[in-house]
């Protein structure tokens, strides 16, 4: 899509922007149990490096193809896994709709996640792009797919909480 997008569906864009804000706040507030609610039941949540994507390779850091897998992730983080004590700040910008077909919106956004450790040191943990397919249910946008495309393909430490 060329141009500067003045013909965008403003109502849909506003709803998608609001969803991204709520998504960021949900994760940053550690309300992980609510995170799967941003997705449709059979939605995919994928984290992939740009390196693999550009090479046409299947490698994913996380590959979830339904909401049950997202709930399993949260449950495991809560009861089974040990990971770095930290807080996240998701900064999401350049939210835009880049296409629409039969009610499915193709949207993109840039993200950066700043992590702060238990001793108060903050670092840029991950930068990249959200490549989304979004449908509306009763006026509420839901992810059909969220692909987290990592520019930061070299993960420092570990990645426990969803991006």
């Amino acid at each position: 899509m060329s141009g500067i997008g003045l013909d965008v569906d403003r109502e849909a864009l506003f709803a998608i922007e609001q969803m991204n804000k709520a998504y960021a706040r949900c994760l940053d507030d550690d309300r992980l149990e609510e995170w799967p609610d941003f997705f449709l039941d059979d939605a995919r949540y994928l984290i992939q490096s740009r390196e693999n994507r550009d090479a046409g390779l299947h490698g994913y850091i996380l590959y979830f193809e339904n909401r049950a897998m997202m709930r399993d992730r949260v449950k495991s983080l809560r009861i089974a896994n040990y990971y770095n004590l930290h807080t996240d700040r998701h900064l999401i910008a350049n939210v835009d709709i880049v296409g629409e077909s039969e009610g499915v919106y193709d949207a993109r956004a840039n993200y950066a996640v700043i992590q702060t450790d238990a001793e108060g040191h903050s670092e840029l943990f991950s930068a990249g792009e959200y490549v989304d397919r979004i449908e509306f249910r009763d006026g509420v946008p839901k992810f059909r797919e969220r692909l987290v495309l990592l520019d930061t393909s070299n993960i420092v430490g570990l990645l426990a909480v969803p991006l």
């Binding site: 299947h58 490698g59 994913y60 996380l62 979830f64 399993d72 495991s76 089974a80 040990y82």
Partner: protein, 430 residues
């Protein structure tokens, strides 16, 4: 470099040879300074990664066509692996023979040859110089004199050899033949896994702020698995008393670790809603559920269900290393790729049974780096001896002790007093 501390007060005191004397308690103690000391880090590059050992450098499936190349590191040294016109794999250091600049700039690709951007020296696929701008001068002036022979210049070669499609390289003429280096059990396991056609599924890069040996040790540490990784236990996937075996080769530094299927595993307290994440339809023989193959000094194979990976260790500093993962699965069964995508959620920097390892070794490193470097870790589960070549249960650290003994020998460190390591020739001062 930090100044070399005097031997006084050190658990692992320095001998005049510049090496390290192992604690008198023996192989059940591992001096923390092995994980902190810049001199030891530099010595590892010389004696392990540039010494008479074979380092993993790639898979043949990454390089199917003439001109295909990949880049990686052998210890600190950047290397290029390329398939030449005749189909032969070549390795060389990614460093221009002229001034030392990086020549191959992309991580992987296909090329007829390579050209350094600095002064446009060009190379063939084997790393041999083929072109030098202004070699004979320009406009009748300058140029190299008659003694210059560009055919005598090349990027430093790396000997390469492969087994079952897995490619290794060494800088040393003293390394034994690769088959002997791997040993019969690892050869057999690799041959069994690679008997079917494989497809490459991706790469992953991972930086861990710890010493590389902490993770290499961790990969064979039965003791930690059920204690630290609660995912298997919480969801009833693997039980701590499951039948397991560790076989050591190459003076204890390779480890062929095998955990067998346990049909009698109790029902889990909590189930995964999506069990395909951990549903292993094993393709390995003899009822093997999990096999982790550590090939010293730089690689680990993880073979579980259809989720296969190789981790290449790339030490960067005493307290920092990178792990480069290569993922692959069987190409002859489309179900394997789907299983692979599900199962791979368990591994890598975000993996259900892997994320804790990075967390533990990073926090361990932070606690031993300053003030505690004179201490040592305790590796005394199941006795204090090194079992010669095999452990048949999970309630043991004997395979760790065997590794440290072999490591010390390859590093030229004096064995503990009363220890059983073979004597090592004194080295001149560094």
């Amino acid at each position: 470099m930090t100044e070399t501390a005097s031997s006084a007060g050190r658990i692992g005191s320095r001998s005049n040879s510049g090496g390290l004397v192992w604690p008198a308690e023996g192989w059940s103690r591992v001096p923390f300074e092995l994980f902190c000391d810049p001199e030891i880090h530099a010595l590892e590059d010389e004696r392990l990664f540039r010494g008479p050992h074979w380092s993993y450098v790639g898979l043949e499936i990454e390089l199917p066509e003439a001109g295909d190349y990949t880049t990686c590191y052998v210890g600190a040294t950047p290397v290029v692996l390329v398939r030449d016109e005749g189909g032969v794999l070549r390795g060389f250091v990614n460093r221009c023979a002229h001034r030392g600049a990086e020549v191959v700039r992309k991580p992987r690709g296909n090329a007829r040859g390579f050209t350094c951007i600095y002064h446009n020296w060009s190379y063939d696929r084997a790393g041999q110089v083929t072109g030098v701008p202004w070699e004979k001068g320009r406009g009748g002036v300058g140029g190299y004199d008659a003694s210059f022979d560009k055919s005598r210049h090349r990027m430093q070669p790396l000997r390469v050899a492969s087994w079952a499609g897995v490619v290794f390289g060494t800088f040393s003429d003293d390394a034994p033949p690769l088959e002997d280096y791997l040993g019969p059990a690892i050869r057999e396991r690799l041959s069994a896994v690679f008997a079917r056609p494989m497809m490459l599924t991706g790469y992953q890069r991972h930086t861990i702020r710890a010493n590389w040996k902490l993770l290499y040790e961790n990969s064979r540490d039965f003791y930690h698995a059920p204690q630290l990784h609660k995912f298997f236990g919480a969801f009833g996937i693997v039980q701590p008393d499951q039948a397991a075996r560790a076989e050591m080769w190459h003076e204890g530094t390779h480890c062929l670790l095998t955990i067998y299927q346990d049909p009698g595993a109790p029902k889990p307290r909590i189930r995964l809603e999506e069990p395909r994440v951990a549903a292993f339809r094993t393709a390995l023989p003899d009822n093997i559920a999990i096999s982790i193959v550590g090939i010293f000094p730089n690689c680990l194979f993880t073979l579980i269900g259809s989720a296969f990976s190789i981790r290449q260790f790339r030490p960067k500093a005493p307290d920092r290393f990178e792990v480069h993962y290569t993922y692959f699965t069987y190409a002859d069964d489309p179900e394997c790729l789907r299983e692979h995508l599900f199962q791979n959620n368990q591994f890598g920097p975000a993996g259900y049974v892997a994320m804790e390892d990075a967390e533990v070794v990073e926090k361990l490193q932070a606690r031993i780096a300053l003030g505690a470097e004179k201490g040592a870790s305790l590796v005394a589960m199941d006795g204090t001896d090194t079992t010669p070549d095999r452990v048949d249960h999970m309630v043991s650290e004997a395979n760790l002790r065997a590794m440290w003994k072999g490591y010390a020998r390859f590093m030229g460190f004096a064995p503990p007093k009363g220890g059983t390591a073979k004597p090592v020739a004194e080295r001149p001062d560094r």
